[in-house]
């Protein structure tokens, strides 16, 4: 038991913060967010070269073989920078899911940066039905809010196959599949709608015929890592606010000297630090759970961390706007980028209410009552 970063972990954090701070901060986000693609391919190639796409991929598939604590560290820094990239969809969702299902397929390509990918399973709304055909499968249905769904090279799509959840791999475009990017208030994330209208896939597109449990594990781990993203972004909101209010003078005093401002910043600090404790608690549980645990400890930690950290992020972003005063409301200042992203993140992978309801169930509120008090 030692709940502090190792030296290696400190190094990962320092390197990520340095690179992202220099190249991939909000100014970068502004450049790419108005483009149709939504990210910068050249910068992404550099991120690949840093080994990030292989961070959790096993070494024998060309990755670094690190764990979810390390992935959380990296995502925390991406949140701080608000770096728009295929990382979440490709690594946090797709690679994580493939690993949870125990298949090495595509991992080397992902680790090496050859392809981007995404996952369309319980993280999307809507439903796909699969039916066996001669030599393969036919898929029909619609999914919305698939991260990077319009731009990813590889789609991992969950579909109902005879009452079980199967996972299929679709490389690029196929006949009958339409992929439409959604225009969104938050311009960092790039959700899409996927329509499957008689899509025929070959037999080898089937990755796992019974993927339900593996996908549940993967989505919980993804929730943990997204919670870490929220931590970094929330902390950046706090930093911007402290910096701005120290500079800004009103009534002849720095705004930061007013107790009302200080106390709101203190509450933001409390939100950030408790969120950090929550996210890394959950990341440790993710590392300890392996692929075959009973999943309850991870489910509790993931739901706890996701609901807590996403709310903290929203609260911090909202407080940042308030404490910036008028300029916090302008397009020019960066606060709104975090604010919109925070709102989007609250709904991703389940909102707070549904995660808390899940915790309520898992801690036994539906079990029979013990002998009367």
């Amino acid at each position: 038991m030692n709940f502090a970063f190792t030296e290696d972990q400190d190094l990962i954090q320092d390197a990520a913060r340095g690179w992202l701070g220099e190249f991939a901060g909000p100014a970068h986000a502004r450049k790419v967010m108005a483009t149709a693609e939504g990210y910068d391919r050249a910068l992404w190639a550099e991120a690949v070269a840093l080994g990030w796409t292989g961070l959790i991929v096993p070494e024998d598939q060309g990755g670094l073989g690190l764990g979810f604590v390390e992935l959380a560290i990296l995502m925390e820094e991406m949140g701080r920078a608000l770096y728009p990239s295929p990382f979440e969809a490709t690594v946090v969702l797709a690679a994580n899911a493939l690993m949870a299902l125990g298949t090495p397929r595509y991992l080397e390509a992902i680790a090496g940066g050859g392809i981007t990918a995404t996952l369309a399973a319980g993280n999307a709304t809507g439903k796909i039905t699969a039916a066996p055909t001669e030599g393969g499968f036919r898929l029909d249905g619609m999914l919305r809010h698939v991260p990077d769904g319009a731009r990813a090279d590889l789609l991992l799509v969950a579909a109902d196959l005879d009452g079980r959840t199967a996972l299929f791999a679709i490389e690029g475009d196929v006949a009958g599949l339409s992929r439409t990017g959604l225009a969104t208030m938050d311009q960092i994330r790039r959700p899409a709608e996927l329509r499957f209208d008689t899509v025929h896939l070959p037999a080898e597109a089937l990755i796992a015929a019974d993927a339900g449990r593996g996908l549940a594990l993967a989505l919980d781990r993804a929730a943990v890592v997204l919670a870490a993203f929220a931590v970094g972004a929330a902390e950046r909101c706090l930093e911007m606010t402290v910096d701005y209010t120290k500079e800004r003078v009103q009534f002849g005093r720095p705004v930061a000297s007013f107790q009302a401002v200080k106390h709101q910043c203190a509450d933001m600090a409390l939100a950030v630090e408790t969120s950090r404790s929550a996210a890394y608690w959950a990341a440790c549980v993710a590392d300890d759970s392996g692929h075959n645990g009973d999943g309850t400890a991870l489910a509790l930690a993931a739901s706890g961390a996701k609901s807590w950290c996403a709310r903290s992020y929203f609260d911090c972003a909202a407080a940042a706007i308030q404490l910036h005063g008028g300029v916090g409301f302008t397009w020019e200042y960066d606060v709104h980028l975090y604010f919109k992203n925070a709102r989007a993140l609250e709904a991703v992978l389940g909102d707070g209410t549904c995660h808390r309801e899940r915790v309520a169930r898992l801690i036994g509120l539906d079990d029979a009552a013990e002998a009367a008090q």
Binding site: M185, P191, Q250, Q322, F329, H336
Partner: protein
């Protein structure tokens, strides 16, 4: 104490709601529910025509004294007017700053000559006004105003900058608080000037907001001029006059604002019923809470207005800005939470930025708790003026 309306009130209600039904039609029909906060750019010219149309029909200045050209309507009629106007989806009024702030200020503090010159244009909808109070380094605090005006011959010459000026780019006139006494500070040495906007000494620069649109502007005064007689009150009385303007914000038009809130809440409830969130017990609590909160907002406003004759500002007036701003901001978040994952999406291609009305609501209401005195300033005011607690130390 009585909240119900009389038969006379109900007859007046029938009159205005009938007029709205008959007139917000044809070319004006597309203006329904448009042009409110966050949407002020919408159909501007058409709304200007609508303002003139209302003026012709005698529906501007409903609460103004008859001597000033208004209807001199009693409080209950004013309440009904603003509520029915909004209930009918009446568009955001392009003349509201003139009708609600500049006009009443001139009525209360202006000279007879000023009344003759300025009031008819406001009532007819021909002259639009904007407000020159906030400055980049004064924020919510008029005492920090740095914009200067010097009397040169028969003209005031004005230099400085104002911000958060709604409608500046389309306004004919601006009421400006400027420092007219060299070396003065705080509330002293300020004057209240009426300044024509269409002149080369004035530059208007729109501020792009987080919504992507620009309701607010920066206004630069660079040797701008106005005639010596365009001062309301005496030189140095600007603070007193400005405080009077702020008092007019307690007018019955607030009931119209609340009816617009009601329309927004109704839309959110309709969505919740359509997408099933209305069955979620946690969401039901929030929707009910919002509904209750809005009823209380109305009751609070009626209490305040029913005591408008009293010389002291009643406590319910002190809390009203903090209350409605916070309620409305929370409504914006509630709208998003009811929409769920769909909240983020708007029609259009990625990279475009044309928000839905509820997304506008969500983003734009973040300014409610900032402009016209942030929530923090409002709490200071409540504590100091309504509760008599010690004033904040000022350097």
């Amino acid at each position: 104490m009585k909240l119900s309306f009389s038969a006379d009130d109900e007859a007046f209600r029938a009159e205005i709601s009938g007029w709205m039904a008959d007139n917000l039609t044809g070319d004006f029909a597309s203006l329904k529910n448009r042009g409110g906060p966050g949407d002020e750019h919408a159909f501007f010219e058409e709304r200007r025509a609508w303002e003139r149309h209302m003026g012709k029909a005698g529906w501007t200045g409903v609460g103004w004294p008859k001597a000033a050209g208004g209807r001199g309507a009693p409080l209950s009629h004013q309440v009904i007017f603003y509520e029915e106007y909004a209930r009918a989806g009446g568009p955001g009024r392009v003349g509201h700053i003139g009708e609600g702030l500049a006009g009443p200020t001139i009525v209360a503090f202006g000279s007879e000559d000023q009344k003759r010159r300025f009031l008819p244009g406001i009532l007819s909808g021909d002259d639009l006004w904007c407000q020159g109070y906030s400055e980049p380094n004064a924020g919510s605090d008029l005492a920090n105003v740095r914009t200067r005006a010097r009397l040169v011959g028969d003209r005031w010459v004005i230099d400085g900058q104002k911000v958060w000026t709604s409608l500046a780019h389309v306004s004919d006139w601006c009421f400006v608080i400027a420092r007219t006494e060299e070396g003065s500070s705080g509330h002293k040495g300020l004057s209240y000037l009426l300044v024509p906007m269409k002149q080369k000494g004035i530059t208007v620069r729109p501020i792009q907001q987080m919504t992507g649109t620009s309701e607010f502007n920066e206004v630069f005064f660079d040797g701008a001029e106005t005639a010596a007689e365009n001062i309301v009150g005496k030189p140095g009385e600007g603070w007193k006059v400005a405080m009077g303007t702020l008092a007019f914000e307690r007018g019955a038009s607030t009931l119209g604002q609340q009816m617009a809130f009601r329309n927004q809440l109704d839309e959110i409830i309709a969505i919740a019923k359509a997408n099933g969130r209305a069955k979620d017990p946690v969401m039901r609590q929030r929707l009910a809470e919002a509904w209750i909160g809005l009823q209380i907002m109305r009751a609070n406003a009626l209490r305040m207005l029913s005591q408008a004759e009293k010389p002291e500002l009643p406590r319910e007036a002190y809390v009203s800005k903090l209350y409605w701003a916070t309620w409305h901001r929370d409504l914006g978040k509630l709208a998003m939470d009811v929409l769920g994952p769909e909240a983020d999406v708007f029609p259009g291609e990625p990279g475009t930025y044309e928000l839905t009305a509820l997304q506008q609501l969500f983003l734009f209401t973040r300014s409610d708790t900032i402009y016209a005195g942030t929530n923090e300033i409002q709490r200071n005011i409540i504590a100091e003026r309504a509760l008599g607690m010690p004033r904040e130390a000022r350097a």
